[in-house]
Subunit: 134 residues, 6 copies
C-alpha cells in the first residue's frame, strides 16, 4: 500500500521535533534541486542571495522576510525566517515587535499564525540551549 | 530532545477533540497576552469589542466574521466564528447560506475549507448536545 | 489609433459619476454575457441567486458580501455591495460596523479601501437624494 | 467524548494513504451535496463542467487549474489537479514546468507547496503502478 | 511643482492607448534594469526564461501565466499574458475558456478583472489589425 | 449631477502631485476619524504606535511595513511606507534591497507594484529637494 509518509511539509504537524522539521526541509529541497528544472535551481540560488548582507545587514533582511511571510500567512516560511532571525542574533523583544507590525498590517486573520510563531520561537530557543549543552 | 508537542494550532489536526481545540486556543492566547507587547494586547481588545452588539447584533457580526474568514481561507478563524455563530443562535440553514456566499465570492479554492467547515459545524452541534446531556 | 477608452472598470477612476459607474458595469456585463461561455453565464446566474432572501434576508446577505469584498480588497466589489446594502435599507451606522469588522479581520492593508468605501457611501446617498428630488 | 476524527481535509496530514485522501474527499463532497443548498450544488456542477474539453483540451485545462491552485497556495486543490493532470496524461517534465511558472509568478512563498507537490506527484505515480500491478 | 506624471503603471488608466501601455512598460522595465540590483536583474531573466518552450509549448505556458494572473487579480499581469497569448496564436475561444477556469477557481471577486480582460482582448485584436493594415 | 470627484485614493492616478496625494490622504483620514466608530479610531491609534521606536528602531519598522505592503500588493500602503522610510533616512540602496526581498518572496506578480514603487521613490526624492530649495 502506498503511504503518504513524507507528505507533511508544514510546521503544524504535531509531535514533530525541531530536528525532524529541519531534516524534512533539507531532504525535500535536495529532491527538488536534483529533479527540478534550471529555472527552479536558479530561483533557489537568488532566493538565497537576496538575504546576504549588502546595504542592509543579514539580520534585518531576515526580519523583512519574516514580516512578509507573516502577512502572507505561510507557516513554513514563518518558521524558516524565525530560525534565521534567531541565528542572526534577533532578540525576543525584536521578534515580538515584528509580529506586532505583521498583526497590524495583516489583521486578526494573522492570529493563528501568531500563536504558532510564538510557539516556534520557544522551540528554537530550547533547541539552541540543548545544542549548546550537548 | 525538543519536541514540537504543542505546535498544532490549526483545526486540521486529525483526532483532536473539540475540547482540545478550545484549550489549545485559550492556552496560547494566554501565553501571547502574558508575553506580547502593548500593541498586541490592544489589538486583542479591539478584536473582541468589534463583535459586540451595536447597530448590528452579535449574531450578524459573527456571520460577517465567518464570511470574511472563509474567503481568506483560514481554518482556525472559520472554526472560531462557526462556534460563535452557533453560540449566538445561528441555524444550520443560515450557516450554509453564509458558506454559499463565501463559495461564490471566493471560488472553488474555498471548497477544501468548506468541507472542513461542514465537518466542524457537526462537531460543534455534537459537543453542545453532549454538554446539555452532561 | 486604438485607444483603451473603456478600459477603466474600477471605482478608483477620478471624476467619474455614479451613473457612469453603473452604465460601465452594465455595458461590460452585457458584453460578457453576450460573448461569454455557458460556464460564465451560469456563474453569473448563481452569483445573483446567492444573494436572494432565504434563511438569511437580502440585506444581511449583501452585508456578508461587503465584508468578504473588503477583506479581499476589491474596490469594484466593495462599491457594488455598498450600493446593494443601501438599496436594501442598511444605515450608515450598520455600514461603518461592517467596515470595522473588515478592518480588524483584514488589518491596515484594508485602510485605502476603507477610505474609498467611506467616499462611495457618501456618493450613493447623494445620488439617492438627487433621484428622489428629481 | 466528541472526537474530531474526520476533521483533516488537507493533504498535509502525515501517514495518510492516497486511498484515504480520495475516500475522504469523496465522503465529504457527498455530505456537502446531500445537505448543501441549490447554490452549492450548481457551483459544484459548473466547477466540473469548466474542465471538460472544449476549445482547450482537458489536460491543458487541468494544467491551468494546477497553475492557479499553486499560486493561491491551496494544498488540496494542488493535489486534486496533479491527480487529474496525471490521469490526463501529463508527464513529469510537463508538471515540473507548471511548477516553475507557479514559482516565478507566486514567489518563494510557494516553495512549501512546491515541496508537497513534488512529494504528491511521486505518490500518484506509485499508486498508479500499484493499481496496474494489482 | 513635482508631478507624478508617470505614476500610472496599471491598465485601468482610462484613455491610454495600447502603444502607451507598451511604452510605459518598456520604459519602467529599463529603469529597473538600469538601477536595480543583481537579484532583480536575475529574477527578470528567469521570469523570461520560464515561458520559453520546453516540454510545454510557449502558447500553453502563457496560458498558465494568464490563469495564475487572473486568480491573483493583477490587471497589468493579465494584460501582459493576454498580449503574449494572442501573439502565440491563442484564439478568443481559448482565451474565454481560460477566463472561465479563473472565474471558477477564483470566484466572483475575479469578475471586475474579467470585465477588463475582455475589454483588453478587443484592444489587442484591434491593434493587430491596425498594424497589419499599416 | 453627483461626481465622484474625490474617489481616487490610490497612487496610480496619473498626473497627481505628491502634495495632492498627501492632502487626499489627510483629508480622508480626518473624515474617517470624525465619523468612524471607536473601534476604527483605536485601530488607527495602535497602527501609528506600532511603528514607534522600541527594541527595533523606527526606520527598520517602516522597512518591515514596506516589505509587508509590497507582498500584499497595496500601492497606497507601499507609497506611505516608502515616504516614511525616506523620512527616516533610508537610502536608495536600502530601498532597492527591500524591493528585492519583496520580489523574491512575492514573485513576478509584484513587478507592476515594483515599477510604481521605483517611480514613487524618485518623486519623493524630487519633492524633498524642492522643499529644501524652497
Amino acid at each position: 500500500m502506498v503511504r503518504l509518509l513524507n507528505y507533511h511539509g508544514d510546521m503544524s504537524t504535531p509531535g514533530r521535533t525541531y530536528q525532524e522539521y529541519q531534516s524534512f526541509r533539507t531532504e525535500l529541497n535536495e529532491k527538488i534541486l536534483a529533479r527540478g528544472t534550471t529555472i527552479t535551481k536558479r530561483f533557489f540560488t537568488i532566493d538565497t542571495k537576496a538575504y546576504e548582507p549588502g546595504a542592509i545587514d543579514r539580520k534585518t533582511k531576515e526580519m523583512l522576510g519574516l514580516s512578509a511571510s507573516m502577512v502572507l500567512r505561510c507557516d513554513d516560511c514563518i518558521a524558516y525566517h524565525i530560525d534565521q532571525c534567531i541565528l542572526s542574533g534577533a532578540t525576543d523583544e525584536e521578534l515580538f515587535e515584528i509580529l506586532d507590525i505583521a498583526l497590524i498590517v495583516g489583521g486578526s486573520i494573522v492570529i493563528p499564525h501568531l500563536r504558532r510563531a510564538v510557539e516556534f520561537i520557544d522551540q528554537c530557543r530550547a533547541h539552541m540551549e540543548e545544542s549548546a549543552d550537548g
